[in-house]
Symmetry: C2
């Protein structure tokens, strides 16, 4: 599975980067940086951000302001603390294991368009394994023996973060996701949509990051805490079925987002709308740095590649004290805030 | 002490806000928002940020871009988790106390000037008490009895965050602080300068937030972990002496900062320098949201006033992927990064 997953994320990365480059020929091409982690692992980061001078010179033309499409493969030993935390989310890890080798690979995308009417998007899929620790005095240590996988799972999802609410966009995005989910089990979309609203929530602001999408973790053959009773029968359970589902999700990324980008990427916009967009980007930063477990875990990992972890950050963000923007529910800004406070069913 | 400390921070707040308003008549006046926390407490936030349109219209004139001068007074019950964490830093808290009422008051200042050559400044002083829990069936519950203070301490400090390094500014700032410290004990400056470099450090960037200043906490009559041997005799120990030291520090704030602001606040600057300033503001945001214990503690406190906690944020911050700015040690940007990697003795 490792090899097949790695091949799939590499192919998907290539396809998505090439499509964005075709889609916005005025934006800089993505920088392609491959890196190696001394403690074990490697990756390819494809990222760009528009410099302020470029943005001013070519204002109106630029569709993408900052974007990153990263793949990474990590191997190492879980610390007991990391193991304890991981076990809380993944009950299939054997209870008596204090530490063990792990394998993790994944693809991660964040795109921040320039236009205030075009939403940011985030997508991530990952495959994880916990490996049996090598026995000090056995033949298994010879390097020839097959590693034994004690636990494995898939996780991922995608969510949309607009500055201005367009029902059409929300319906298209959620509709695309729902169709993919429904193909692989009728229980998936309702469970994963709710999970996304819970996950991308900023407690100190009492609002979600955006209009959601879907999120899942710990998808494996073992019983899953979020599927019980009837629902447990309507989700993929074998490694093959789950991988097929994850591939279908990733392959639908461009369909779920590009039509929205085409509709909104070059819409007329004002300084006022740009200001609100930058305030919303400030909330994006707050979510990533204060709330998001993945980012915090990454920044605390020794030898982590900070530039790749923080490729999710917007090019510019803004903080105002007690801003009046968004406080009046009769304004376009207030209408967005209303759905962030009260997540809706879009399809 | 509570009443005297509260009076002092209120007076200091008024003096500092009035001075900044006189100093930059083109900037908006501070908004003065007084607030009450339902769970116990109150405060006065004096904050402004310049809107982007104002900044463009009056570019070159504006000295202050965003500023906050806040006072707050909080009372409540420490949760066992907060108590445990607080005890780690404050060994004078009785070891058998699982929870107790607390009192905390303080003044907090962050000023972000507009000009890339003018440094941001942060200052904070606070007074803290742990109170004996009321006994359920005693007269002490009548409301007439005096509360018994089980532990108290002062904390605070100030630090300077430039985007471009000026040795004169660093020497003036540290020199002012050192003179105040030396008046109250020869052991203070060396200990508090080092503590500040440790405290305002961004581990994932392997650099300090700025060029430091001084930081102290847990200053009370009990022995202090950072002063041992000879040094323990050369620091203030009684409540009166410590309060006198804290007042002297706070009263020296304007002397430590205004001459620097006058020298740099209207200096000629380029788009390139502005871009670097905004990248440095991004690091400021990373410190506040990822590292700073005070901000994280505040955001996790139920009923906390998020707008007051996040007044420390810059007006605008910027993230570039693998920016070339700051990587060449022969450039002005690289010379700043060099001292953030290797903190220096300035006086």
């Amino acid at each position: 599975m490792r090899r097949r997953f790695e091949e799939w994320i590499a192919r998907l990365q290539e396809e998505i980067v090439a499509t964005f480059e075709r889609h916005d020929p005025t934006a800089p091409t993505f920088r392609r940086d491959s890196w190696v982690r001394p403690q074990g692992g490697r990756g390819l980061s494809c990222v760009f951000s528009v410099s302020p001078n470029d943005a001013i010179l070519r204002n109106g033309d630029i569709v993408l302001e900052k974007g990153g499409v990263n793949t990474s493969i990590l191997q190492g030993i879980m610390t007991p603390a990391a193991m304890k935390q991981t076990r809380a989310d993944h009950p299939s890890i054997p209870a008596d294991l204090e530490t063990a080798p792990f394998y993790a690979s994944g693809i991660s995308i964040v795109i921040h368009p320039r236009n205030p009417h075009a939403p940011s998007i985030h997508m991530n899929y990952r495959y994880f394994e916990i490996i049996e620790p090598p026995k000090a005095d056995s033949e298994a240590n010879s390097g020839e023996a097959q590693e034994k996988v004690l636990a494995w799972w898939f996780g991922g999802g995608a969510d949309l973060t607009p500055s201005y609410l367009y029902q059409d966009d929300a319906k298209h995005f959620h509709g695309t996701i729902k169709a993919v989910c429904d193909d692989h089990g009728s229980a998936l979309y309702p469970v994963f949509k709710k999970w996304c609203d819970e996950r991308f929530f900023i407690p100190h602001r009492d609002e979600t990051r955006g209009i959601g999408g879907f999120f899942f973790d710990d998808l494996c053959e073992a019983p899953h805490g979020r599927f019980s009773g009837h629902a447990a029968d309507h989700r993929p359970k074998t490694a093959e079925d789950i991988f097929a589902f994850v591939q279908a999700c990733g392959n639908a990324f461009l369909d779920s987002y590009l039509p929205i980008l085409e509709r909104r990427g070059r819409a007329p916009s004002s300084e006022h709308e740009r200001r609100w967009q930058l305030i919303r980007r400030g909330r994006y930063v707050e979510f990533n740095l204060v709330v998001d477990r993945g980012t915090r875990f990454g920044l605390l990992t020794p030898g982590a590649r900070v530039e790749s972890i923080l490729m999710t950050m917007p090019e510019t963000a803004r903080w105002e004290y007690m801003s009046e923007l968004g406080t009046d529910p009769e304004t376009p800004e207030g209408r967005l805030v209303e759905v962030l406070r009260n997540p809706r069913e879009w399809v």
